[in-house]
Symmetry: C2
Subunit: 237 residues, 2 copies
Amino acid sequence: MLALNSTNPQIATPEKLAQRLGVQFAQPQLLEMALRHRSAGHVNNERLEFLGDSILNMVIAERLYHLHASAPEGELSRWRASLVREESLAVIARELSLGSYLVLGSGELKSGGFRRDSILADALEATIGAVYLDQGFAVAKTMLERLFEPMLTHLPDAASLKDPKTRLQEFLQSAKRELPTYEVSDTRGQAHKQVFEVTCHLADSAQTALGRGSSRRKAEQAAAERMYALLTHPKNE
Amino acid sequence: MLALNSTNPQIATPEKLAQRLGVQFAQPQLLEMALRHRSAGHVNNERLEFLGDSILNMVIAERLYHLHASAPEGELSRWRASLVREESLAVIARELSLGSYLVLGSGELKSGGFRRDSILADALEATIGAVYLDQGFAVAKTMLERLFEPMLTHLPDAASLKDPKTRLQEFLQSAKRELPTYEVSDTRGQAHKQVFEVTCHLADSAQTALGRGSSRRKAEQAAAERMYALLTHPKNE
């Protein structure tokens, strides 16, 4: 296994990362383990990632619970999913330059694994696990609240995070219109790689929208998305 | 909304439940809210359930992390899923007689909602959320560790929690045999309610196993389960 920046180890040592996190580790080996991708060998960050993921989910849940005291559970849940998904975690990992502290196997190193969203997100979660084990809940929580503060104060519109069928249904309900129906209008291809084509119908309009996908469910979502766009931005379509 | 046992409120008051949990609430209204199913009205336990679920997942994650210091992440993850699933939570809820403390709408009350796994599991999670908000992390953690101790010390065999395809694949790999293949051997029914039939083949044997399901994936899992049974318990089949 190779450490990145191994020609100049002073640039990106785990101690430097600990400093950026504002944490003084009693057991620095925990942070070192959090930075070891599974390609680096048997001792790696996968178990810490499992632990850190659960801490992250909990701290974000509580933060959202308090910040949005009247938001229903569904909104809290969708907001959290958007905050803890891989892309969001990778943004924070990049702000910490986490990639430069990673220990990767030679294959991952050559293919630029230290830039990959999934590897960065996993290492961030593992780092959270390491901070928790070393420093306890309160320190991990404070660190996470600080790291996620910008995202927590700029949450996306809760409705935009809904799946297209739900969004379309709620849009129609709020306009006192009847619910849409979905009909499989075509299936193509062999059984093991079928393409479904679904048509979305409105009860009170001749307007229809088509969606395709590798399953009936995906095709319905695509049709709902198209119908929602037709109803809300008719000019652009 | 109706309280259960409303003719004899002394039997099942939230205070009694708090006693059973070993928690003295500073804000008893939190526990009261945790016991209000959404059928009871606008003020209900759904937000607390969201929070409690995340605390439960975290505490169980940490417990498993420490109890099984060499178990890979995949095993920890499957064990946790088995501990926090609805059926397991309902077992613990019943030990606490949680059903008798619930506040349900009249419809749910008549249909026996206080006995339903999903309602019991949700109320238990909400109760965890209430304990955490009122008493903090350490108290919630200690309570959860106590409630889950019997299940944590009698974990199911990790392999038995794997999905059938994975289990079959690992069984064959450990016997240095080639991987199975899956073939859609039949599809029946209309596009929107197809039944898939999949045959599982082994490279080094004429033995085959059939599985059916509402999707290709489900039919493959069923075929793998059948094949695994054929290989491991040939007599019983």
